[in-house]
């Protein structure tokens, strides 16, 4: 179809066309970035924690009486908990991914130096932690029974200075010893070396950290000995609620003089941890939908007015031989041109907005493939919105040409 008449007709409505182009551009720019933010959030929310999430349940116990010996208390509790039907294994730990109990420590590769140092989260637990959490050991071995020491929390965690072995995540190993095998090498939590005896593929840190360091975790053979401890129990997915209830009753029976808190499944904890991100994703989706709606209204509304305005012209065209299809295609093509103009401007705007977001909200760079997707979405939106008015235009009878208004 010849573009000339369309273009010359558009130049008669410069201001209106300009506004529509601007609107499509704004929508395109915002929607591209919103889509990217949604994808970014969803990726964060789906991060693998490294543990067997659908088989774990947890319960916190806090001793009230300061004379209680925490080590003995944990041993007694663990023995009792193991007796619950359906319990595969149970350990006492001081931290878990998402539970915000974050003990971070700097780890050096040489005594008293800053070279290659990494800040990592420290995980401590009773023997069997690896198996209970379902961590995937990719190299080396688990801790040996003789390697365990108390954290010594009465002396502010002095145990970390005495420990002789450690298991680290793959990400932390690569950070500490880039390009070399970390197995068998020593790290220095304080001034004494701890040998890396095993490497696990993933273990997310208990709290949020800078991008790229979310998997910097180290496990130590240290027995938790604070008044507050978390019992992690592994069972089959369908037994979780029952095991959790049995554990709460049992712990209260073993010793009633304590606070039993936060019985929950790992999945609940994960959902709580990400509730803000879920809200944000909902907001972003709503914003994208509302923008698309408003733009569709603008396109359809304008087309509607233009069809009304041009009824006589359309009638004349029909009278001198244009088919219904010709009229339909005219409006569709016109819409395509306007939306295309908006998209060109919108893609520039998308990049610009992304730069702003990168600066103020630490968002990564917008991958380029979002741009063609955004363009296709807007073209489709435009065509759908214009279809109604265009069909009405194509139904204008030729006889209109003979009427005066």
């Amino acid at each position: 179809m010849n573009l000339r008449p369309i273009l010359s007709s558009l130049t008669r409505h410069k201001l209106t066309v300009l506004l529509l182009v601007l609107q499509v551009a704004l929508t395109c720019g915002i929607v591209c970035n919103v889509a990217f933010m949604i994808a970014d959030r969803v990726t964060q929310m789906n991060q693998a924690s490294g543990v067997a999430e659908d088989e774990l349940v947890m319960i916190d116990s806090i001793d009230v009486d300061a004379r209680t010996n925490p080590l003995a208390r944990h041993t007694e509790d663990l023995a009792a908990l193991r007796g619950i039907a359906g319990m595969r294994s149970v350990v006492a730990v001081d931290a878990l991914p998402f539970n915000a109990n974050d003990w971070t420590s700097s780890l050096d590769t040489q005594p008293d130096s800053d070279i290659n140092q990494a800040i990592a989260s420290v995980y401590n637990g009773t023997p069997g932690e690896l198996r209970t959490l379902g961590l995937h050991l990719v190299e080396g071995r688990d801790f040996l029974p003789g390697e365990y020491l108390p954290v010594d929390s009465a002396n502010n965690g002095a145990g970390l200075g005495q420990v002789s072995t450690a298991i680290v995540t793959r990400a932390l190993a690569d950070k500490l010893f880039p390009g070399r095998s970390a197995l068998g090498r020593s790290i220095y939590p304080f001034s004494r070396p701890a040998r890396i005896v095993g490497i696990v593929d993933h273990l997310l840190r208990p709290g949020p950290h800078e991008t790229g360091s979310n998997d910097y975790s180290a496990l130590f053979p240290l027995l938790p000995d604070t008044a507050e401890v978390t019992y992690v129990m592994r069972t089959s997915p369908q037994d979780r609620e029952r095991v959790l209830q049995a554990a709460a009753t049992l712990l209260a029976k073993v010793d009633g003089n304590r606070i039993i808190r936060r019985p929950q499944t790992f999945e609940q904890m994960r959902a709580d941890h990400f509730h803000r991100d879920r809200t944000m994703v909902g907001m972003l989706l709503a914003a994208a939908a509302a923008l698309a709606f408003v733009t569709a209204v603008a396109i359809a509304g304008l087309a509607h007015f233009w069809v009304q305005q041009r009824r006589r012209t359309i009638g004349i065209r029909r009278a001198i031989g244009a088919t219904r299809g010709d009229i339909l295609h005219y409006f569709q093509l016109e819409n395509f041109l306007i939306v295309s103009g908006g998209i060109v401007l919108g893609l520039l705007l998308a990049m610009l907005l992304n730069l702003l977001l990168m600066k103020h909200y630490e968002l990564p760079r917008l991958p380029l493939f979002y741009l063609p997707i955004g363009a296709v979405v807007l073209w489709t939106l435009g065509q759908l919105a214009v279809l109604g008015p265009a069909l009405r235009a194509s139904n204008v009878p030729p006889v209109v040409a003979t009427r005066s208004v």
């Binding site: 609107q23 606070i259 909200y361």
Partner: protein
Amino acid sequence: MFGYYINLALHSLRRNPILTALMVLAIGLGIGASMTMITVLHVMSGDPLPDRSGQLYYPHLDPWPAPHDRSANPHAGDNLTLPDALSLLRAQRAPLQAAMSGAAVSIRTEQGGARPSLETGHYVTADFFSMFGVPFHAGSGWTRADDEQRARVIALGSTLNRKLFGDTPSVGKIVRLGDADFRVIGVLDDWHPQPLFYADVDGRAFGKADEFFLPLQTALDLKLGFNGHLSCRGDGDDDRTSDRCSWLQFWVKLENPAQVASYTQFLADYWRQQQAHGRFPQPVNPQLYRLMDWLAYKNVVPSDVRLQLWLALGFLGVCMVDIVGLLLAKFLRRSNEISVRRALGAKRRHVFVQFGTEAAAIGVAGGVLGLLIAELGLWSVRQRPDGYAQLANMDVSMLLGTFLLAVFTSVLAGLLPAWRASRIAPAIQLKAQ
């Protein structure tokens, strides 16, 4: 004449009921979304102590070396170590000053009938209550002498007091924290400053109020449970009493610029004195943040909320462009009518006012709808499990603001089309037909 314009506007709007409805909906959505987020931001940026905040300051002394990489936490040096906090406290260079830290302990009554429960509160020093104007229902806070003597006294929040003692007077009674006994010295009235500015506000600045207060040094002595960040440098264990671990918040009250100046001088002198002992490696740069500046510096408004506001404003912008375009097309569609009116003697400004009225009618309807949508939006914000959720309510000023925004937006959006319509020349249009 104006009544006639309103009639004309309504008549014109009724001719395209669907389109009119869609325009009203678009502007309503834009205004509703914007006002929801502006209200949320407004309540979150509120002053927690409106009548005192001008005289409250946070002294900022960064004891650590300058961070060597950009991604490091910029707030690592915000808290004080215990030796520094005690030095500032004992120097008493401000009329009032207090050190504090978050607390979490198990509490029950002496009789021990009920199960103990884990409660959160603050360990503070004596001036805390008078400095922040904490209202007491009964009793009072403690003295500086009580601090130094590690007195076992506790002030209870109203909720916890009711939970432990019901409606009976509780001052002088004993509560048990872990296995130590504390005497109740005061009971607070309802006191919920939001955000909880004096806490270690990284992360959770809004939400539950403190349930109890007790002397900081008593808590250290008894090794009660602490809440909040503990950041230690160098080799060695995480000892709260050492000068390698920072974890305390500190506030001072300074009543006039002279006091502010002399306190800043005192902090600088302290910094230099510490440098002589090999501490505080950074160049001398003590800061005194006023309360509201401190909240801004600590970013108490989550970045998600700010992003949501920008998103809502961007959406409102798109809605405005939308309305301008639609009104323009609509008005120009009626070029014939306009040129006839002009030919019959209507002035440009008459045409302008006529179409301006039509735009304003859409704006007012959009504003009413926007108000409803904003109330709905705020209701949905209140359903969020965040600490700030319960604050999301519209007060009278925000209500008025919404309406003004609506009328302002739509009049602004109507100006251009109305102006363009008023420029239509009488003769040419008549000729064209």
